[in-house]
C-alpha cells in the first residue's frame, strides 16, 4: 500500500517538474473547475465530464512539456479531482462578481 502511494507521489512530482510553474498549474485547476461548474448546470454527470476535460488539458500539457505517460495520468487524475470538488455554480458567481468588480475598477 505504501509502495503504491510512494509511486503515485513520485509520478505527481514528475508531473510538477514537467509543468515547472505553479501559476500554470493553478490556471489549469481553475479552468477545470470552471468547466466542471458549467457542466454542473446540467447535472452531476456533466460536472464530472467538465472536470475530466480539464484533467485531459493537464494531461496534454504534461506530455507536451516532456513528462511521461504515468506523470501525465497522475496530473489528469489530480486536476480532475480538484475540478470536480471545486466546480460548482457558487464558483461561477464568485468569478463573475470578481470580473464585474475588476471592470468597474479598471
Amino acid at each position: 500500500m505504501t509502495d503504491w502511494i510512494d509511486t503515485a507521489l513520485r509520478y505527481v512530482q514528475a508531473a510538477g517538474a514537467a509543468i515547472d510553474s505553479v501559476g500554470m498549474t493553478i490556471a489549469i485547476a481553475i479552468l477545470a473547475s470552471i468547466l466542471a461548474a458549467v457542466g454542473g448546470i446540467s447535472g452531476m454527470r456533466y460536472r464530472l465530464y467538465g472536470a475530466v476535460v480539464g484533467g485531459m488539458i493537464a494531461n496534454v500539457v504534461v506530455k507536451a512539456m516532456g513528462g511521461g505517460f504515468m506523470p501525465a495520468l497522475a496530473a489528469m487524475l489530480g486536476i480532475t479531482l480538484v475540478g470536480a470538488v471545486l466546480g460548482s455554480t457558487p464558483l461561477l458567481v464568485v468569478l463573475i462578481k470578481r470580473m464585474g468588480r475588476a471592470r468597474r475598477g479598471g
Binding site: M56, V60, K63, F69, A72, L73, P90, L92
Partner: protein
C-alpha cells in the same frame, strides 16, 4: 492483414502506452468506438452509450502522445459535427425539440447565476434576447 503503408505510417507515429500498439492504432480505435457509440446515442437517445463514447475518447487520449491527442480531438469534433448535421437533416422536429429544451435550460441557469452575481435583471434579459438561441 493490415496493408504495408498503414503499418509503416503507424510505426512512424511511435509507441503508445498500450504495449504492442502504435499511437495511430490507439487513436483510430478510440475515434472509431466514439463514432459508433455517438451514432447509437443519437439514434436511441440513450445516456449510457454517450458515457461509453466519452470514456473511449478519454482512454484513447490517455494512452497516446500529445500530437496524437490533438489529432483525436480534431477527429472527434469532425465526427460530432457530421453526426449533428445528419441528425438535423434526418430528424428536424426532434432536433428542434432538443434545441428548445437546451435553450430553456441555459436561459434559466444563466439568469439564476446572473441574479446571484448581482447583475441588473433587465440587462440580463436584454443579453438573453440578443444571444443566439442554440445551433442553427
Amino acid at each position: 492483414m493490415l496493408p504495408d503503408w498503414y503499418r509503416e505510417m503507424a510505426a512512424a507515429t511511435g509507441p503508445s502506452m498500450v504495449p504492442g500498439f502504435a499511437n495511430a492504432d490507439v487513436a483510430i480505435a478510440a475515434v472509431a468506438v466514439f463514432a459508433v457509440f455517438l451514432v447509437v446515442t443519437v439514434a436511441l437517445q440513450s445516456q449510457w452509450t454517450l458515457d461509453v463514447a466519452f470514456v473511449a475518447l478519454v482512454a484513447g487520449g490517455l494512452a497516446v502522445t500529445w500530437p496524437a491527442m490533438t489529432a483525436i480531438t480534431a477527429a472527434a469534433l469532425v465526427v460530432l459535427a457530421t453526426v449533428s448535421f445528419a441528425h438535423k437533416a434526418l430528424w428536424p422536429e426532434r432536433q428542434a425539440r432538443i434545441d428548445a429544451d437546451a435553450g430553456r435550460r441555459a436561459s434559466s441557469a444563466v439568469a439564476s447565476i446572473a441574479q446571484d452575481a448581482g447583475l441588473d435583471p433587465a440587462e440580463v434579459q436584454r443579453v438573453l434576447r440578443e444571444a443566439p438561441k442554440g445551433p442553427r
